[in-house]
């Protein structure tokens, strides 16, 4: 298919702990299409950030092993060396990080930080770069772009800083933007503004966004398709509509049930038993969510879980979704 922009194939990212490698991302395959917002949701430690950083090999390779394929523009990014990767990073694929204060250099003014990737990837002269930077700043909604151009990051508020990092990542009109928890550090009103902005820019530039987040509300507002991750694997993959209306995997259903929702009243929230296993103690065989649903009969899980297409383009991992019920509901 030629509308696939990026194809991740059986990706496995392992980190070295005490001389042994443990996989934080364990066999993930996804295709990102042109002009779509693809969300990856999960709790801390599920491997969603490790996955996103693996795409452009931003991990410290001294203690990280990345296996599998990331196909982009007819080449496997994981085979490229640093200098070839640098031609892709920032130009075709760029990243928006969670914390805008650490993502921006505190001793360089905002303008030159936006120009940095233009200097690296294009032949623009000084004036062209400056014009481009100011245009970008006004595109991301800065009231006075000339003033912001000459400001230091500490002179801006949190929302403005995040706008500046978005401007940095948009500088070379990338085809794919990886947004790693872009609004987690922000207040709700600012979060709404930033999400509206990302959506507007995505529509204008026809680029694709991989949105990494733990906030299901943000996913519902933004995403076209969603992958739910648990313990390094994708447990459910569906369109946003399908996922929220018809969640299948026990983990997805438990997560949705644990949101204190503004819309409805519940006396008790559904808490998921136990915790996300740490990397070293992660069960590597069978359904990894099974130990958090001890009331479910073990025979309902598959020995070697596989994806099942429950509806067109709606995939669920392991068979335990079929007869899942919440503990307090009782059941069959």
């Amino acid at each position: 298919m030629d509308d696939i922009l990026l194809s991740i194939n059986n990706l496995r990212t392992s980190f070295r702990i005490d001389g042994q490698y443990y996989a934080a991302v364990d066999g993930v395959s996804i295709d990102i299409m042109h002009n779509e917002v693809f969300a990856i949701v999960g709790e801390s430690g599920c491997g969603k950030s490790a996955l996103s950083l693996s795409i452009t090999k931003l991990h410290n390779m001294n203690y990280t092993r990345i296996e599998g394929e990331v196909n982009f523009n007819g080449q496997n990014l994981l085979d490229l060396n640093e200098s070839k990767l640098n031609k892709v990073r920032g130009k075709d694929i760029s990243v928006i990080f969670q914390d805008p204060l650490t993502a921006l250099n505190p001793v360089i003014r905002v303008g030159p930080q936006i120009e940095e990737s233009l200097t690296y990837h294009t032949n623009m002269n000084k004036k062209e770069k400056r014009d481009r930077a100011i245009k970008l700043l006004s595109e991301v909604g800065m009231v006075n772009p000339e003033l912001t151009y000459a400001s230091f990051p500490h002179e801006l508020s949190g929302g403005m800083r995040q706008r500046a990092t978005i401007a940095v990542s948009l500088a070379c009109s990338p085809k794919l933007i990886i947004a790693d928890e872009p609004t987690t550090a922000l207040d709700v009103t600012i979060q709404a503004q930033i999400l509206d902005l990302l959506r507007k820019l995505q529509k204008e530039t026809q680029s694709s966004i991989i949105l990494i987040t733990h906030d299901l509300g943000v996913v519902a507002e933004m995403a076209d398709r969603v992958a739910v991750m648990y313990a390094g694997q994708i447990v459910e993959l569906a369109s946003a509509n399908d996922l929220f209306k018809n969640p299948q995997h026990p983990y997805t259903r438990s997560l949705l049930a644990s949101i204190p929702n503004v819309g409805e009243d519940l006396h008790r929230l559904n808490a998921i038993k136990g915790i996300v296993p740490t990397l070293m103690y992660m069960p590597r065989e069978g359904c990894r969510f099974s130990h958090r649903t001890p009331w479910i009969d073990g025979s309902m899980h598959e020995e070697n879980p596989d994806y099942h297409e429950v509806r067109p383009n709606h995939f669920v991992f392991c068979t335990c979704y079929k007869d899942f019920y919440f503990e307090n509901e009782g059941g069959a």
């Binding site: 709790e43 299901l216 509300g217 509509n241 997560l255 915790i275």
Partner: protein, 311 residues
């Protein structure tokens, strides 16, 4: 009579400048707020970062000096208390902190962390103390063998539960919970909130629940206070605030919550834009000159719970 009554509370932080480090001005972190918390009630204090909600919580515990106003606890003005009288108050008001990594002493065992407030106020033998700690741990759903472990051996949610156990160790009347779940994952957040509710029913506690998450606050609180620029902009029951928000700031806040229903995507965005438009155009209707917030007034005669800061 209300358990806690705060009247015209003010907290100013000095700005120092010049050669001698003289005080050249003040940051008005909390500027004249009044509210009360009844026994067994949960009051939610909502606002964005920098609105003064955490400072309010700290002022109630006496962790920051007051610039004015008074705090009545059980009808007595505790701002006048010093020494012994004050320590009785300290016993009945406790705090749960936001950051579970910095609020537990990493060098102490869980036993010592939870027993510290008990040791300060009560003379118990080692066995009695251990028994109390085990009881407290079981209230927050942890087994007694955890008492001899260190904080780093626990996950974020478990740590916050240790924080809850420590806060209830002296059977306080009021707990100020400052963003107790905002650093936690969704499933863990649900655990901690459930335990907080259980503990409240068991001990008849009151909470002042400080948060920026409107969903969590709605789940936990009967009465809500919306704070903005050091003042209250709207006070009301859960229904008042969510069904009939009146101040433009509250409406903006509620409109910015992302919904988990993808069908409402467009409608929400349109609603949000309309409110932002209104915020820009009608700013002067809701804020006095210089952007300061008006005094609260009762919205209408028939509803004595709903107050809005409008002229």
């Amino acid at each position: 009579m209300a358990l806690l009554e705060v009247k015209d509370l003010k907290v100013y932080f000095p700005i120092r400048g010049g050669i001698m480090g003289r005080i050249v001005g003040h940051v008005k972190a909390v500027d004249g707020i009044s509210f009360s918390v009844n026994e067994g009630q949960t009051v939610g204090l909502v606002g964005e970062s920098g609105s003064g909600k955490s400072t309010t919580g700290k002022a109630i515990l006496g962790l920051v000096p007051l610039a004015g106003g008074s705090i009545y606890f059980n009808g007595e003005d505790i701002t006048r208390y010093i020494g012994k009288n004050r320590s009785a108050y300290r016993k009945s008001v406790q705090m749960i902190f936001q950051d579970v990594h910095s609020s537990l002493n990493a060098k102490k065992r869980v036993l010592d962390i939870i027993a510290e407030p008990i040791r300060n106020f009560e003379k118990l033998t080692k066995e009695e103390e251990r028994k109390r700690v085990d009881e407290l741990l079981s209230i927050v759903g942890m087994s007694p063998e955890n008492a001899l472990k260190y904080p780093h051996e626990f996950s974020g949610g478990q740590r916050q539960r240790i924080g809850v156990a420590r806060a209830i160790a002296l059977k306080p009347k009021l707990i100020v919970a400052d963003e107790p779940v905002s650093a936690l994952d969704l499933s863990i957040q649900a655990q901690v909130l459930n335990y907080m509710k259980d503990v409240q029913e068991e001990l008849g506690l009151s909470y002042l629940f400080i948060s920026h998450d409107l969903g969590v606050v709605k789940h936990m609180c009967e009465t809500l206070i919306i704070m903005h620029s050091s003042r209250f902009v709207e006070v009301g029951s859960r229904e008042d605030i969510y069904q009939n928000p009146c101040h433009i700031y509250t409406r903006r806040l509620i409109a910015s919550i992302p919904s988990t229903n993808p069908d409402l995507k467009e409608a929400n965005e349109a609603h949000r834009n309309a409110i932002n438009e209104e915020y820009k155009n009608q700013y002067n209707k809701y804020y006095a000159e210089g952007g300061s917030v008006y005094d609260l007034r009762l919205l209408n005669e028939n509803n004595n719970t709903h107050f809005v800061a409008m002229p």
